[in-house]
Symmetry: D2
Subunit: 99 residues, 4 copies
């Protein structure tokens, strides 16, 4: 992604607020795919074509802007997400399993 | 808007979560209009055509879904917004004017 | 709202991209209220307290930033929304009523 | 994340529309961190504490819901994102380097 942006001279556009707005745009496209689906059938409908491919693309677009944002901010996304998972496990302890 | 939805038998789609997703979709389209504009020039660029008309349309789309959501939930949007304004004035007091 | 912002010297913060991000923040708070509600019960649950007041507040917050954005851009929100409604009526004709 | 949700009996909440709303909530929190920062200083400000840690956490929250959504839909997120990158390279060819 860094090479992709650099080759097109797009780096100057990638200030954090602009990238977040681009992320919001992609989240909006993702929401539009699902908005009128019946809640109970959404998982099944989105697991089949043609929705499956479109959902994959929109989820990927969100991910790519999220990675770009992390890169612009110098954030190690994998380490940060793992830390958040560990933190969630502490904040929401699992119920003890019986037995 | 009520007549519009009723005539098309769309009311059954208008559960709150679906309407919020539709709202998110329109907010996404609004964000896309502005995402790569230089921050300092966005106001001037969006005040002139062709962006002005497109921004008006997207802002209106967000408003219409917001009104639909309030209607679905039985919320009086005008009264509620006025109450929020009054509340904001209490929470963020204006600095005393000199003199 | 203009007086409110002017008295607090907040106008300089109200460039369009910043206001859209603030709008996104409020839409996020609205989404959080509804995210884990069962789709079929969301309307009823949000029509009763304590959710009703919180939903009113979040919807109002979204509306206030939307009005601020329209004002910053010099857009007449009421006229623009009415034009969009008329346009929707043309684009999605109601089915002829029987009889 | 699968184990985390299963241990807490949260899987029943994870229909796609609910997860997208949760994602929207986290995107809103991310937007709120940046909304009033001057555009030109946002990168530098967010690269230093205390904003850096908070931005990391919000970006991670978005990522975790995005991964959850992909998992719920049976989408291979890494393969899908790589395909999207390849597609972007085709759609937006880099200018030829001089030489």
């Amino acid at each position: 992604m860094r090479a992709f942006a650099a080759e097109r001279n797009w780096n100057s556009y990638h200030d954090p607020k602009s990238v977040i707005l681009a992320l919001v745009g992609e989240v909006g496209e993702l929401a539009e795919l699902f908005q009128w689906l019946p809640a109970g059938a959404a998982r099944e409908l989105a697991g089949a074509e043609p929705l499956r491919t479109r959902a994959s693309e929109e989820i990927s677009d969100v991910l790519l802007y999220l990675i770009l944002l992390a890169d612009v901010l110098g954030i190690d996304l994998a380490a940060s997400a793992q830390a958040k998972l560990d933190d969630n496990a502490r904040r929401y302890p699992a119920p003890a399993s019986p037995g």
